[in-house]
Symmetry: C2
Subunit: 179 residues, 2 copies
């Protein structure tokens, strides 16, 4: 069984997007590093929130640049039929994030489930669904935007750094959630 991995690029001040969902800064600091390649090769499915899905479609920036052709599960309140965009099939799940993660695990098989977007990430941390956290730390202070770890309202969660790569301007760090 694969892992459930919170995967995000974050500014040093903790944002994953600007105030209007701007993501352009993410690509400024060099090409994908070894940890990105590893993530791409081991991702078997993706769970994302409705806002992330809509921003993704609007900005024409599919998860992993559309290169990882795996099932995508969108957590939403609005029931709708699955859509296929750029070869990726998005299934809309109205039964909540736990159900979406369960579906994603089944779809991923031995591979990992990637969690994308602040809302999904925070929900999964709160209910203990995330096994790992994979952060690409960008050398920028954005000043404002969408925070990856907004006040979580949780007891502290201990992590263990398991890998680190700093081959581009980005510092990529992989953590295990210590349960």
């Amino acid at each position: 069984m694969g892992k459930v991995i919170l995967h995000a690029t974050m500014s040093l001040d903790g944002f994953i997007a600007g105030p209007n969902d701007e993501m352009d800064w993410v690509f400024r600091y060099g090409g994908p590093d070894e940890i990105v390649h590893e993530a791409i090769n081991t991702t078997g499915s993706v769970v994302l929130g409705k806002r992330t899905f809509e921003s993704t479609v609007r900005q024409n920036q599919l998860p992993y640049g559309g290169t990882v052709k795996v099932p995508q599960f969108v957590v939403t309140h609005e029931a709708r039929d699955a859509v296929t965009i750029g070869g990726l099939t998005f299934t809309f799940v109205t039964e909540g994030v736990e159900c979406a993660v369960e579906m994603a695990k089944t779809a991923a098989g031995d591979k990992n489930v990637s969690l994308l977007g602040a809302s999904i990430d925070q929900q999964c941390l709160r209910i203990g669904l995330a096994d790992e956290i994979l952060i690409h730390l960008a050398p920028i202070l954005l000043g404002d935007g969408i925070r990856l770890f907004d006040h979580l309202g949780i007891e502290p969660i201990e992590l263990e750094r398991t890998k680190m790569v700093a081959s581009t301007g980005i510092t990529s760090i992989r953590f295990r959630v210590v349960t």
Copy 2:
């Protein structure tokens, strides 16, 4: 002339202290690394806010464990005489953070000025006084507390990673503020 360096230990979710100024987690992940030693050896003075000063005294945790015997400048609204605690002399500056940093630069000579505490750090970033940012990233999600980079209300500030050390549980990263 030395540099003005924002120096902090931060949880992965961006906090430098818990909701009640708790700092115990900071010391959990191994002894000081090479970047800490370098900072200790090159610090010529310290600027801190009143809240940081009071928390420091209350928790009996002097800046750098009291081992760096350099002048300390406390930015405050309340005029009071300098005090010496544990061999460190704290001078209270009521003319604002710019004045305190100027006094600290003079006191530091060729060495660096360390900025300690979220309020001072944010003020110095907003007015462009910080030359470098030195972060010790702790492997923990605190969930709540005092954020190092609270919504700064600034235009994005580009950084450049100049050094990184991961010899303990902490990941220490040094950035230059790109002006």
